[in-house]
C-alpha cells in the first residue's frame, strides 16, 4: 500500500494542483471564498436563531460555529467527492490509474479549506472569551475521524453517482435533512432521554458534540463515544472500499 502510494505520489500532487487551479479560477477572492462562505452562513444563523435558541445559552456564537464548522466540512467534502470519479471519466477510461486518487485529491482540498476555517474558528473562540486548555489538542481526534468518514462517504457516493446521476439530488435533500437533525443551532438538552440517544446515531452530530465538549465544556468524551465514532468510520470506509474494489474495472461500462 505504502509502495503504491509512493509510486503515485507525483500523480496525486498533480491532481491536487489541477483541482485547486480549476476551483478558484475566475473568482476574484479565490481561496478567500472558502473562509467567507462559512462565515456568512454563521452570520445568517446568528442573526436568525439567536432570538429563538440562543437566549439562555452562553457562548452561543461558538456553539453555532462548532456545528457549522463540522457540517460545512462534511457537506463540502462529500458533495465535491461525489463528482470526483465521474468528472475524471475521460482519464480512467483511457489510462490505468488508481481511481480513488481523484477522490483523495478533492478531499485534500476540502481539508485545507476546513483548516482555514478552523483558524478563524479559534479566533472567534478568543473573541467569545472561551478558555483554551490542553484538551484542545484532542480536537485532532474528531478531525481525523471526520476526514476518514468523509472519505468513506465520498467513496460510496462517487461510485453510486457513476451508476445513477439521481444520487446528486437525493444527496442534497439528505444533507439538508441531516443539517436539521444535527443540532447545529439548537440544543437537545431539554429533549427526553430517548430522543437524545437517537441523536447519537447521527455521525455528524457525534463530531459536533465532540467539538463542543472540548471547546465549551472542557471535558473529554467517554470511551464509548469514541468507539461509536470509530464504528461509523469503519462502516462507511468498509462499504466504500468494497464498492471500489468490486467495480474497479466495471465503472467504465457506465460512463
Amino acid at each position: 500500500m505504502v509502495e503504491k502510494l509512493k509510486k503515485h505520489q507525483f500523480l496525486f500532487e498533480e491532481l491536487v494542483k489541477r483541482d485547486f487551479k480549476k476551483k478558484y479560477k475566475r473568482t476574484i477572492l479565490g481561496m478567500g471564498w472558502s473562509i467567507l462562505a462559512p462565515l456568512l452562513q454563521l452570520l445568517v444563523m446568528r442573526v436568525v436563531f439567536t432570538q429563538f435558541f440562543g437566549r439562555n445559552m452562553d457562548h452561543y456564537t461558538t456553539y453555532l460555529f462548532c456545528g457549522n464548522l463540522v457540517f460545512s466540512y462534511f457537506s463540502e467534502s462529500t458533495g465535491q467527492g461525489m463528482m470526483s470519479l465521474m468528472g475524471n471519466a475521460s482519464i480512467f477510461t483511457k489510462v490505468n490509474v488508481p481511481k480513488y486518487l481523484f477522490l483523495f485529491s478533492k478531499n485534500v482540498q476540502a481539508l485545507i479549506n476546513f483548516g482555514l476555517v478552523l483558524v478563524v474558528f479559534f479566533v472567534f473562540c478568543v473573541l467569545d472569551g472561551v478558555a483554551f486548555t490542553w484538551k484542545f489538542v484532542l480536537l485532532l481526534v474528531p478531525i481525523l475521524s471526520l476526514l476518514l468518514f468523509n472519505i468513506g462517504v465520498g467513496l460510496i457516493l462517487s461510485a453510486l453517482f457513476v451508476f445513477f446521476r439521481d444520487v446528486q439530488y437525493l444527496w442534497s435533500v439528505f444533507t439538508q435533512l441531516l443539517m436539521y437533525l444535527s443540532a447545529i443551532f439548537y440544543s437537545i438538552d431539554t429533549f427526553p432521554q430517548m430522543a437524545r440517544n437517537l441523536f447519537l446515531l447521527n455521525p455528524i452530530y457525534l463530531h459536533i458534540r465532540y467539538f463542543r465538549k472540548i471547546v465549551l465544556e472542557n471535558t473529554v468524551p467517554s470511551v464509548w463515544f469514541h468507539l461509536l465514532m470509530l464504528a461509523d468510520v469503519l462502516i462507511v470506509l468498509g462499504i466504500g472500499c468494497w464498492m471500489y474494489k468490486k467495480y474497479n474495472t466495471k465503472f467504465l461500462y457506465y460512463v
Binding site: F164, D166, L252
Partner: protein, 248 residues
C-alpha cells in the same frame, strides 16, 4: 524474453439500458420488464506473444475489438477469460487527447500526463524540455491547453508518451494526426524506439503505415483472431484483398 503474453484472452463487453438512465427510468423498465443488457464478446480467444523491440500492428475493421483489446493490455479492463502477462511499464495512448485538461497550461498538462503514465517528477523535470522541443510547442508552453489546435494537442501527447521510454507503448490511431512533416518525424521516432527495445503496439487504419512500421501483425475481425504473425507482407496483402472484396 516475452514482454507481453496473451493467452486465450476473451473479453465480454456489456452495453445497453443501464447507461444514461436515471433511477426512475431504471425502476420503470425493471417493472415493465423492458430492461435490457446486451452482452457480447468483443474479443474471443486472442493469443499472441511479443518480444522486446517488437512492433505489433493491429488491423481490422471498425468494431473488430481492437480498442477493447488495448484496454485489456493496458490494464484498464480485466479479461473475462484468459490471461495477460506483462513485464515492465505500459504507456497507453488511447484516444490521444482525452484526459488533457483545457483549463491548465500546456506545461501543466504535460506533467499531469507524465504522472498518469507513471513517471516521476524528477524524470519529467529532466525530459520536459526535450518533450516540448519535439512537439514544437516551445512558445506555447504557458498557454492554456484549449488554445492549441487539435494537431498540436496530439503532437504533445505523442511526444510525452514516446520520449519517456516505456517498456510497452500502446498507440491507438496516434500517427494519423499531425501534418506531414510531423508524421515523418514521429515515424522515425518509432523506428528509433523499436531499435532501443521498446515494444510497441500500433492501431491504425492506414495499412501503408502498418506495413512500413510493423514487425508483427494481428488481424482481428468481429472479435476473432484471423491471423497473427511476423509475415507482414503476406498478411497485409490478404487483408487488402479482404477489404477490396468487401467494398466491391
Amino acid at each position: 524474453m516475452a514482454v507481453l503474453e496473451l493467452h486465450n484472452v476473451s473479453i465480454r463487453y456489456i452495453t445497453g439500458d443501464f447507461k444514461d438512465i436515471g433511477l426512475k427510468e431504471y425502476v420503470m423498465r425493471k417493472l415493465k420488464r423492458d430492461y435490457h443488457i446486451k452482452e457480447f464478446w468483443a474479443d474471443r480467444d486472442i493469443n499472441f506473444t511479443l518480444e522486446k523491440g517488437d512492433m505489433l500492428g493491429i488491423i481490422g475493421a471498425n468494431g473488430a475489438g481492437k480498442s477493447t483489446l488495448l484496454k485489456v493490455i493496458s490494464g484498464i479492463m480485466e479479461p473475462t477469460m484468459g490471461s495477460v502477462k506483462r513485464s515492465g511499464s505500459v504507456a497507453a495512448l488511447l484516444e490521444l487527447t482525452s484526459g488533457f485538461d483545457g483549463e491548465l497550461t500546456v506545461k501543466e498538462n504535460a506533467y499531469l500526463r507524465g504522472a498518469m503514465l507513471g513517471y516521476t517528477r524528477r524524470f519529467m523535470d529532466e525530459t520536459f524540455d526535450q518533450i516540448i522541443e519535439f512537439a514544437e510547442l516551445k512558445e506555447f508552453q504557458d498557454r492554456p491547453f484549449k488554445q492549441l489546435s487539435s494537431g498540436m494537442k496530439s503532437r504533445l501527447a505523442f511526444s510525452i508518451a514516446s520520449l519517456v521510454k516505456p517498456d510497452i507503448l500502446i498507440l491507438d490511431e496516434v500517427l494519423s494526426v499531425g501534418d506531414g512533416a510531423f508524421k515523418a518525424k514521429s515515424e522515425a521516432k518509432m523506428q528509433e524506439m523499436m531499435g532501443g527495445g521498446t515494444t510497441t503496439i500500433l492501431v491504425s487504419h492506414s495499412l501503408e503505415q502498418i506495413r512500413n512500421l510493423s514487425s508483427k501483425i494481428l488481424w482481428l475481425d468481429k472479435g476473432r483472431q484471423i491471423e497473427f504473425g511476423g509475415d507482414v507482407e503476406r498478411i497485409c496483402a490478404r487483408y487488402q484483398e479482404f477489404l477490396d472484396r468487401k467494398t466491391r
